[in-house]
């Protein structure tokens, strides 16, 4: 198989799929060459992510990375998420073929954007 079992499992049974009403932060990651788009919603309590959801348009790996990425960050402090890398997402999804590494980039970008948004909103309130 070209894709890892972890990836296939996330693609088959995506965790945290769907939108979130009144999130504490929302962000998007995009890979225009591919038209891939991931949107991540965060619910935050005491500076920590307690719930994460995604909506994603893209190939199987991008969908799987969205699932694995949202699962990965639950429980994380917002502050660490602004530095989240594609490599972290890639390892959460069990690795990616060279020509699909952008899947991890799209998702990590969405998470970073959502974390920044949540921090911005916290600062404002």
């Amino acid at each position: 198989m070209r894709y890892s079992e972890t990836l296939i499992d996330h693609f088959r049974n995506p965790r945290n799929a769907g939108m979130m009403r009144e999130p504490d932060g929302v962000g998007e990651g995009e890979y225009p060459e591919c038209m891939d788009l991931a949107r991540v919603y965060l619910r935050v309590r005491d500076g920590q992510v307690v719930e994460a959801r995604f909506q994603t348009y893209g190939c199987g790996p991008t969908i799987a990375a969205s699932s694995a990425g949202t699962e990965l960050i639950i429980g994380s402090p917002l502050g660490t998420l602004v530095g989240l890398t594609g490599a972290q997402i890639e390892s959460a999804v069990g690795g990616l073929p060279e020509d699909r590494v952008h899947a991890a980039e799209v998702v990590s970008a969405a998470i970073r954007a959502a974390a920044r948004d949540a921090l911005r909103r916290m600062a404002r309130s």
Partner: protein, 384 residues
């Protein structure tokens, strides 16, 4: 994953058991080099000669007019570059939706001083013969239009185009890789001078193909070496492959008439089943002038590859219209040329049916694709 359903016959087909049976002796007992004059060579030569006669019989041409090559790609290259080399310069006419074997060959010739016109197609993927007529120039040396497109299956009006080229004495090349053995091909009625066909698309082996070259067509060989194939294609003949191709063409000649309506019915069942079960899906290609087994659909708001992966996990093999190569997605150039909006084209999937396809297969695909697309759509952010 128990059930396996292969709906990618336009990409390749399994070798027909009778084809393999015909080939087997030529790996072992009849292994000689057909150029050798001794008995070992003559036995191999007989296999090649018989295959050539079989192909010529189905095409209703002379065996001298059939050249064997290593694939549909080589046949297309030989037809186009062979004519170009014989002329040295001039203008080529082709269409925007040809296979890359034709498109990139024409592009390569453009870098060598030839001119090329890439004709547009309409929304059904059809070339207009009037466009061909308008594109003809005094220095036009070749017209190359495929018989049917592999992605959407639209069958081109080659007979009408052949009348134009014949009136003007311009060689007419037709890439029939997707049609020989699937729909009637008549090089005389259609005015075709060069016809490409390939083994592995018609239950023959990979790595073998043919090019019909009408007697008198001026062309040069493009692969240099020994004097094989009447000096039109150098290289030791792929004897088992040729024997297999001969048998495959023969079997298609026999089975085509019964198979075409069966596949058309199954394809309609597939499209109707899917079209009835969900919104925002469209069928691409010409409604009637289309390959019997080809069903190309666009699922809006879903990305092709995620459908292909989802079906693959169900044991179903179909192909994505848009292919993401090293992180750069190309929505199918064929669909784009047909004017299909990118947000639709991104979600295109081709199902191509074949010999082994059953109604149960089709129903299984419908049952699998409908919830899959629904699920993928539910994951998707509203883009529109």
């Amino acid at each position: 994953m128990n059930r396996r359903v292969y709906l990618d016959h336009n990409a390749s087909t399994p070798v027909h058991p009778e084809v393999l049976e015909a080939m087997l002796p030529y790996f072992g007992e009849r292994f000689g080099n057909p150029s050798s004059v001794h008995a070992f060579g003559r036995e191999a030569r007989e296999g090649v000669d018989m295959a050539r006669e079989r192909v010529a019989g189905v095409l209703r041409v002379s065996p001298d007019e059939v050249v064997f090559t290593s694939g549909g790609t080589e046949s297309d290259n030989l037809a186009i570059k062979g004519v170009a080399a014989a002329r040295g310069r001039g203008h080529l006419i082709t269409s925007a939706i040809e296979h890359h074997a034709v498109l990139r060959t024409c592009q390569a010739l453009e870098t060598q001083g030839f001119d090329a016109t890439y004709l547009p197609v309409d929304g059904d993927g059809m070339v207009d013969p009037d466009d061909v007529r308008r594109a003809l120039r005094p220095d036009t040396i070749l017209v190359s239009i495929m018989h049917a497109n592999s992605e959407v299956g639209t069958i081109q009006p080659v007979a009408a185009i052949g009348r134009l080229t014949r009136e003007r004495g311009i060689p007419f090349h037709v890439d029939a890789v997707q049609t020989l053995g699937k729909v009637p091909v008549d090089v005389n009625a259609f005015g075709i001078d060069l016809l490409s066909f390939s083994g592995h698309k018609i239950y023959g082996p990979k790595g073998i193909a043919g090019l019909y070259i009408r007697k008198g067509t001026k062309m040069l060989s493009i692969q240099h070496g020994g004097e094989h194939e009447r000096r039109r294609r150098a290289g030791t003949e792929n004897v088992p492959g040729i024997v297999g191709l001969g048998r495959a063409v023969e079997i298609r000649g026999r089975d085509m008439a019964a198979e075409a309506p069966r596949l058309t019915a199954l394809r309609n069942r597939l499209w109707e089943g899917i079209g009835a079960a969900m919104p925002e899906v469209r069928l691409n290609g010409h409604p009637t002038e289309r390959l019997p087994g080809t069903c190309n659909m666009c699922f809006r708001h879903v990305e092709s590859e995620s459908i292909v992966l989802g079906l693959d996990l169900k044991g179903i093999g179909v192909s994505a219209g848009s292919a993401c190569t090293s992180g750069n997605v190309e929505p199918s150039y064929v669909l784009v040329a047909m004017g299909i909006p990118v947000d639709w084209a991104m979600g295109s999937v081709r199902c191509s049916l074949g010999r082994s396809t059953t109604a149960e297969d089709i129903d299984y695909v419908i049952e699998s694709v409908v919830p899959l697309v629904a699920k993928l759509r539910s994951l998707s952010p509203a883009r529109v």
